[in-house]
Amino acid sequence: MAVLSDSDRAELHALFMSDTSRERQTIAGLSKPDLRAAVNAADDWAEANKAAYNNALPVAARTALTAAQKAQLLMYVIRRRYVVGA
């Protein structure tokens, strides 16, 4: 899978702002263009490191899970580490 399209990134940008607004999370000193640059960078990082993540998984999971399931697994771990557990 290649990086997200510009429209997908724009949608994520809007979704992030909508969700953080709804949750009343403080975002200090970050403009909309700055946030969009962060979305782009996060997607670029995911693309650049997808092979490394896949190789980090044990062989059994690497073989049995689909790409979407591997992504979902990573999402669960990150969420637990940085969102729920924050």
Binding site: A10, M17, A28, G29, P33
Partner: protein, 164 residues
């Protein structure tokens, strides 16, 4: 009435939301507010009657707002007036919107007041004393008329219409 006199005041509960792209009603510590999205233009509409003692000058629309979460950045506000006299209410007839920018306070819950000015006549859709009108307030989130770079929602607290 004379210059600087208050002609109308509207709160979030007075909003008559348009059919689409509308600001959404919310509550913040018991304060009703209207949330304007950061990524797409949204509007709120208020109906009033211009007091009969209006002296014929221009208008200033003061938008009282606060950032939902941001502590910096600019919001681009727009306001447009529709005089209802002679207007077929089955369609919209707003005059061209006027715009102004406001900067978020360093504390997200503290208000900023952004003034949008109208000259008498066409900018006000030739609204006259005693005339019914609609006022449409829009966040120009996509920055068509000027910079709007504040992350997150802008929350409208109140709108004041004064004679300039």
């Amino acid at each position: 009435m004379a210059s600087t006199d208050v002609l109308a005041v509207f709160g979030p509960l007075n909003n008559e939301p348009p059919a689409s792209s509308f600001a959404t009603l919310d509550v913040r510590n018991g304060h009703p507010v209207l949330d304007f999205d950061a990524a797409a233009d949204e509007s709120a509409v208020f109906t009033g009657i211009l007091p009969r003692n209006y002296a014929g000058g221009g208008l200033t629309v003061n938008i009282h707002w606060a950032a939902t979460s941001a502590t910096s950045g600019d919001v681009r506000w727009q306001a447009a007036i529709e005089a209802i006299a002679s207007q077929d209410i089955d369609s919209d007839g707003f005059a061209a919107a006027q715009s102004a920018s406001g900067t978020a306070n360093g504390t997200s819950g503290v208000e900023t007041i952004t003034a949008i000015t109208f000259t008498a006549g066409a900018q006000m859709d030739s609204l006259a004393a005693g005339g019914a009108f609609r006022l449409r307030v829009t966040r120009d989130a996509d920055g068509t008329t000027g910079t709007d770079d504040m992350t997150g929602d802008a929350e409208l607290i109140a709108v004041e219409v004064r004679e300039t």
